[in-house]
């Protein structure tokens, strides 16, 4: 029955295994979490449907990263997209889900179309869909064709990954799905696109010229900055996280692009090192973004709102969820000694090491890319101070937050697993890098046997760098030792007594949650500094009772999404216009339709006479 299937269907090399691990590492905690999350809000049949879809989703992602045939890959890719579409529109109660689903399915199919085009070109050259047959055929492929295939893959997979300006669907689709699905979509699904880029561009196609890497680096820098600036402006916690995923895809692509750049310059050690940095950030992002989405889901479950302006004070109501969110926020802001810090350090180090080994203007280019990465991480810290501070700290800003309670045990267990992984991936960096070196070496077909990345099991030591070390366990140890010393001094020598009293209110005596700083206010300096990009719109209206007394005051602000306004909306308008034009030939008259059939028949007959 399966006669059409090729002989060798699966490929379990270290790259595939790595992605399988990433998929499972996020999916299993999400599955545990889903039992508590789905309970109560949906009917039993719908919960069953959700679990089946979830399992199918995970299964097809796993199949995508382990097949070795383009055609089968494409089929699984499409099934994954469809299953995730059904998960996006799972909450059919909300009209927004349907809209989000529509945007998602349109964008993902545009991407798939490009991937199909690339596969067709490859098949044309290799006369096979097998990965290794294509890989061999690619050696003899003209470089012009390679460039075209690369661009097709970049657009195709870039749509799935959410590279700016193809990110448009991400902030709609990810927040709309149930939270454990968001965590898998943001944590893992967009990574399958990175798998596609690494597998098809780096492994099969082979890097052809240095502009590939440069193009990816430039796109990655733009993706980072745009993603995090939009995240800073956001007040819907899940959309904030979705935009932050855009940013993190950018950071991952910095590692990947840098690796391509170094391959073309024939610097194998650095190519492997950069890809390690990218892959490390990939798995890290899967973990902490998975965790943050689960936490956001818990907040939503407990309060019924995703608007952070209406939350606040949750650290006292939901101590565990807030501790997990804090850990995730620290990791994503690249704070030592957690995992996000290690991968950002590696990426920065890759830029620096690269700059020491290239010549002239390339040094400056790498330096500026590194500085933009630093800017991104600074903005990410600001964004997550906002997200954590406004959501969890101070006083509750609405009745939603006041009535919040800690979530069910299964949900907490799901979050706990990921939280532990954050710490492990931070402290055991050296061990993980040794594993990633193998993955990276096999993906790039570079022999890594005489390359070393670690001094011992605790300390990272890039071989090419002079005296550059990083030891997160040591760093953690010293942070704790010195913190405890500080605490001891505080306790032993401090004399005064401790009083718990109201926050200073300038003698007003009525300080309540309305006096708190809001998320919108928090992001105001950024809104003004990046106004050239955000084009903020602001409207204030005072309603006066008399000259002296203002009865009410309304303030409205929003930012302009320039990609939507200047790229997608015009294109959409054109498509609609074309559709309206085409509608004229379909007026509903049966006589006209019979006429069409007759004309078609005539034309066909004339055409067939040639044969």
């Amino acid at each position: 029955m399966l006669y059409f299937l090729p002989q060798k269907l699966f490929l379990f090399d270290s790259l595939s295994l790595f992605f399988l691990v990433v998929i499972l590492i996020v999916s299993l905690p999400s599955l545990v979490y889903s039992f508590g999350y789905l309970k109560g809000d949906y009917s039993a049949a719908k919960i069953f449907l959700a679990q089946v879809l979830l399992l199918a989703f995970v299964l097809f992602m796993a199949l995508i990263v382990s097949v070795r045939n383009c055609l089968i890959f494409l089929v699984f890719w499409e099934i994954m997209s469809l299953v995730s579409y059904f998960l996006v529109i799972f909450d059919t109660k909300h009209a927004r889900s349907i809209q989000a689903g529509l945007i998602y399915i349109v964008m993902t199919h545009i991407g798939t179309a490009f991937i199909i085009a690339a596969f067709m070109i490859l098949h044309n050259h290799a006369h096979s869909f097998d990965f290794f047959a294509i890989k061999n055929a690619c050696l003899a492929m003209p470089s012009q064709t390679k460039n075209i295939v690369f661009l097709l893959f970049l657009i195709g997979f870039g749509t799935k990954a959410g590279i700016v300006p193809l990110h448009i669907w991400l902030p709609y689709a990810h927040p709309q799905a149930p939270s454990h699905i968001s965590s898998i979509m943001s944590g893992v699904m967009i990574k399958t696109a990175i798998y596609g880029i690494i597998r098809f561009v780096m492994f099969i196609l082979g890097v052809n010229s240095s502009w590939w890497g440069v193009l990816i680096l430039i796109l990655a820098v733009i993706t980072c900055l745009v993603g995090i600036i939009y995240a800073l402006m956001e007040r819907d916690i899940k959309r904030l996280l979705a935009y932050s995923s855009v940013e993190n895809i950018g950071i991952i692509l910095l590692g990947v692009g840098l690796s391509m750049f170094f391959i073309s310059l024939n610097l194998p050690y650095l190519a492997v090192f950069s890809l390690i940095a990218g892959l490390y950030h990939l798995v890290n992002h899967a973990i902490f973004k998975g965790l943050l989405f689960l936490c956001a889901g818990s907040v939503y479950k407990a309060t019924g709102t995703r608007d952070i302006e209406k939350l606040g004070g949750l650290i006292k109501k939901m101590p565990q969820t807030s501790a997990y969110f804090l850990l995730g926020a620290m990791a994503i802001s690249a704070l030592p000694p957690l995992n996000g810090f290690v991968s950002e350090w590696l990426t920065l180090q890759a830029f620096f090491l690269g700059a020491f080994n290239v010549i002239g203007g390339s040094k400056l280019f790498l330096g500026i890319c590194a500085a933009m990465l630093a800017l991104t991480s600074g903005l990410a810290a600001a964004c997550f101070v906002k997200a954590f501070g406004v959501t969890f700290l101070a006083k509750p800003k609405s009745h939603y937050a006041e009535s919040a309670k800690e979530v069910a045990l299964s949900m907490r267990i799901g979050m706990l697993i990921l939280a532990v992984l954050i710490v492990i991936f931070g402290l055991a960096a050296a061990l993980i890098i040794k594993l990633l070196a193998k993955v990276s070496g096999s993906a790039l077909s570079i022999d890594i046997s005489n390359m070393s990345f670690c001094l011992n099991n605790f300390t990272l030591f890039p071989q090419m760098a002079k005296n550059v070390y990083l030891s997160t366990p040591l760093l953690a140890l010293w942070l704790i030792i010195l913190g405890i010393t500080g605490f001891a001094i505080y306790r032993i020598f401090g004399r005064g007594k401790l009083t718990i009293y109201k926050t200073w209110d300038c003698g007003y005596y009525k300080l309540d949650s309305r006096n708190e700083y809001t998320a919108t206010a928090f992001s105001k300096p950024f809104r003004i500094a990046f106004s050239f990009f955000l084009l903020p719109y602001r409207k204030t209206q005072k309603i006066r009772e008399s000259f002296y007394h203002i009865k009410s005051f309304t303030y409205e602000t929003r930012t302009t999404k320039i990609f939507k306004k200047y790229i997608y909306d015009p294109v959409l308008a054109m498509v609609l216009k074309a559709a309206m034009f085409m509608r004229r030939i379909q007026p509903g008259s049966i006589h006209l339709y019979l006429g069409y059939i007759f004309i078609t028949l005539l034309l066909l007959l004339i055409f067939m006479r040639q044969f």
């Binding site: 030592p336 070390y469 942070l479 505080y490 109201k502």
Partner: protein, 302 residues
């Protein structure tokens, strides 16, 4: 052993720097001014005072002083000020310092939001704004400096013996960054508690007593470390090999260099006006451009 000596010396000398700058500023303004030792008196006073904690605050507010202090001290043991190579130099390189400072800042900003006071939120928002713009400039400076050595190793940075155009420009960029990071005019003003202008002071407004003393101490040490880095760029004199006989002249030389930077900072503070918060973006943008210039100089080898 030497590392403990270094930490103690840093802790002892750090408040003096602030006292010195304040004294110079006051004298330049034809005032008598407070004693150079005033920061020590303040710290002692705060340390033995009663403490008030907001009832809105959570555990974040309580742990922040220790996180801030320990992250600053970790930088203190990581960089070689009085010793040639830190015994814990395997802990990290130059880039790590940026991330460790970010750790303290992250918690400080959270604790500011924790009390539910508008001042705290304002301070946190502004601090994160300024610091996120500092990061690219600082990264560029580190990039320019490390290009000269081919490494981001801190000891390499501290052991340079030649002065180059690149390091001078980098030092200038670092000077602007330091002004922003240590909340000095024209970016912030340590002397005022005016709602509209304060940044760092607004963040720590709810702290009192011992906790405030620890946070103040941490910011003194951070200031000292940043000044030391500038000094090392403009007066590139290597470090002593590390025995006790050599350490005394070294400490003196160290204090003189820091003193010169302090005079410069004081001069800047009395001669310019504080700028609007949104102009800070231009100010730090200029620091970034200087960083790029330093990088170009380093590439050209001058």
């Amino acid at each position: 052993m030497m590392i403990i000596l270094q930490i103690i010396l840093l802790i002892i000398t750090a408040p003096l720097l602030s006292g010195l700058i304040t004294k110079i500023k006051n004298n330049l303004r034809m005032r008598k001014g407070q004693s150079v030792l005033q920061p020590y008196y303040n710290l002692a006073k705060l340390f033995f005072k009663d403490e008030v904690i907001s009832e809105t605050a959570s555990w974040i507010f309580r742990v922040t002083p220790f996180v801030v202090l320990s992250s600053t001290l970790v930088v203190g043991i990581l960089i070689p000020v009085f010793i040639f190579t830190s015994p814990v130099h395997q802990m990290g390189d130059f880039l790590v310092i940026v991330f460790i400072f970010a750790l303290g800042r992250f918690f400080l900003a959270l604790s500011a939001l924790d009390t539910g006071s508008s001042f705290g939120g304002m301070g946190a928002s502004r601090e994160m704004f300024i610091s996120s713009l500092v990061e690219p400039a600082l990264c560029m400076v580190i990039f320019a400096v490390s290009l000269q050595f081919g490494s981001t190793d801190i000891s390499a940075f501290s052991s340079m013996h030649v002065i180059s155009v690149s390091s001078v420009v980098a030092a200038l960029a670092l000077f602007l960054i330091t002004i922003a990071e240590t909340s000095r005019i024209p970016v912030d003003n340590q002397e005022t508690h005016l709602e509209l202008t304060m940044v760092h002071e607004a963040m720590v407004l709810e702290y009192s007593g011992r906790s405030l003393a620890l946070i103040e101490m941490a910011s003194y040490i951070k200031q000292m470390i940043l000044f030391f880095l500038i000094a090392q760029l403009i007066f590139p004199i290597g470090l002593p090999v590390g025995n006790f006989a050599q350490i005394l002249p070294w400490v003196l030389w160290y204090l003189i260099r820091i003193g010169i930077i302090a005079v410069l900072v004081a001069l800047v503070e009395v001669s310019v006006a504080k700028m609007r918060l949104f102009r800070v973006a231009d100010f730090l943008g200029f620091a970034f451009v200087l960083g790029v210039v330093a990088t170009v100089c380093a590439i050209l080898g001058v």
